[in-house]
């Protein structure tokens, strides 16, 4: 019986260890999120949303230009990345044979794994070197490229979940393949597709590295899309490594706003797909 006892003790000890690991992981999550929201919330005020950054070294000011800049960059990125991702996803789910889709999927996953700083280098060589100045275009281009892989794969995945019957019924009514896809299949999967794009947006909204030398930064309003443009993540980086206490406080506030935005996208995407599954 001694042996059985030892085995039972091993069983209990090992599972206790796995429980400890889980508690540690989840605990770290709550700790750092709590710390960020508490700290950021403390330093957040209306000025943050309405004012330009104060002159270097002076206290006060806000990040209104960076909030608007982030919005501009995300919009550009969507205009560039989402159509390609959507149509490419439709191709993979609805058309295509064996080898070519396999290659596309594989390369898409590889592109998804390329470090964001390298996407930034690419956008720099393509857009900034040609224009000879930093611009929102370059930043939007970089973020757009980062959006394509996820938009494509999630679109494909949700289209695949649409039942065959729907496609057959649509074709039987005399629809062409394009009509079938656009009027029957895509609408049936639209919640999932939108959720995928929201997750995609949440991911690139926090990207800093590809913007450092494409959109660069700006302490003022940028008057157009071909000017250096401020964004929240780059502001957080600049302020966090800067020497002023007030900058650090604002970095926390900006972190709060950015993370709230990212979580909002994530949770709404989750709710969108959750309801669909529940039906």
């Amino acid at each position: 019986m001694g042996r059985l006892r030892r085995r039972k003790i091993t069983n209990a000890v090992m599972f206790a260890l796995t429980m400890l690991s889980t508690v540690a992981v989840i605990g770290v999550l709550f700790y750092i999120l709590g710390y960020l929201f508490w700290n950021g919330g403390r330093y957040l005020n209306w000025q943050f949303f309405t004012n330009l950054p104060a002159p270097v070294g002076e206290a006060g000011g806000g990040m209104a230009n960076a909030i608007l800049g982030s919005g501009k960059l995300l919009l550009l990125a969507m205009c560039f990345g989402v159509p390609i991702g959507l149509l490419g996803g439709i191709y993979l789910a609805e058309f295509g044979g064996r080898v070519f889709p396999f290659v596309i999927r594989y390369v898409t996953d590889l592109l998804n794994g390329v470090p964001s700083i390298i996407i930034g280098l690419f956008a720099y060589t393509v857009v900034v070197l040609r224009d000879r100045h930093f611009s929102a275009w370059a930043g939007g281009f970089a973020l757009g490229i980062m959006m394509i892989p996820i938009a494509l794969r999630s679109t494909e995945e949700f289209l695949r979940q649409v039942p065959r019957n729907l496609r057959e019924a649509s074709l039987a009514l005399g629809a062409t393949r394009a009509q079938m896809v656009l009027t029957a299949v895509v609408p049936a999967a639209v919640r999932g597709i939108v959720a995928g794009i929201m997750l995609d947006l949440a991911r690139v909204a926090g990207e800093t590295a590809p913007l450092l030398f494409t959109a660069f930064n700006n302490r003022f309003w940028s008057s157009g899309l071909d000017k250096p443009t401020a964004s929240l993540p780059v502001m957080i980086f600049t302020y966090a490594i800067g020497p002023y206490e007030d900058w650090h406080r604002q970095a926390w506030a900006a972190g709060f706003v950015l993370l709230a935005m990212v979580f909002l996208f994530n949770v709404s995407a989750r709710l969108l797909t959750f309801r669909q599954h529940a039906r």
């Binding site: 889980t22 390369v107 394509i148």
Partner: protein, 330 residues
Amino acid sequence: MNELLTESRAASEPSAPKRIRLAHRLARAGDPLFYGLTLASAASILVITGWLVYQLYVNCEETRRQFGWSFLVGRNWDPVAGDFGALPFIYGTIVTSIIALLIATPLGISAAIFLAELVPPRLSSVLAFLVDLLAAVPSVIYGLLGIFLLVPFLSSTVVPVLQKAVGFLPIFSGPFYGVSLFSAGIVLAVMVIPFIVSISREVLLAVPQAQREASFALGSTHWETVWKVVLPHARRGIYASVFLALARALGETMAVTMVIGNAPEISKSLLAPGYSIAAAVANEFTEATENLHLSALVELGLVLFAITIVINGLARLLILATARGQGHHG
């Protein structure tokens, strides 16, 4: 079918057939057009990836010509003197990633085991969602937390204890200034754990229930079942999750840049400041004025690209192999 439809309508209203036939022809013409458009979008992935490699390759021509392969093993990085070697950055990148994996792999896999084996399904998926949220936190925010939360904590608590206990080891020797390879490794560990937990948990859940029941029927305890049956069955997927985490750690930029110390040196001690490839590009690119310096940074980018492509490629192959393997057994 379609012709029948048009004919029956044609009989009832004489003016309709032409219009319908036209609409029909347009719709038929739309088909190849739509197909072409989706095909072009899918193919653009290949074009973009190829273009990316080409641009990186072309834009580091100067350093490639001047240093050749010795760029990879040069220990000196001196923009003023125009001497560029990538070794300190490659070293920093690999060392921080190894630290991250050493911490994240055991923690992540055991948390995944707990979530997959012991926690009731509904609670498990809620916890998994929380872990996924942890993966969604932008890296610049991890950097912020690294600077103001982790580094002070390491300096005041962890490192003094560590040095008292194992300070005789060369890897924990020397002074600690807060920013270091060690700090970067820990931040990376926190960042990659969610990947390992999330993927491993799914792989473990996909192990057929019959496997577990067979093991229980032979009299195994739950842990023996996990250790001898479930984990071996899921091993490829777990390896893949670790590889994906590794690829992510190698290419991580902002959080590392903020806590690694940005010193292009190769030091034995993990407590000394270092530099990673991605951090070097992030820090120096906008400040570089010499063409040779820019070219060296682009070549660093190319090296990082090559490393992550290899690791990612391996991970994807493992995942494919897992999917196929399960197809055979199931």
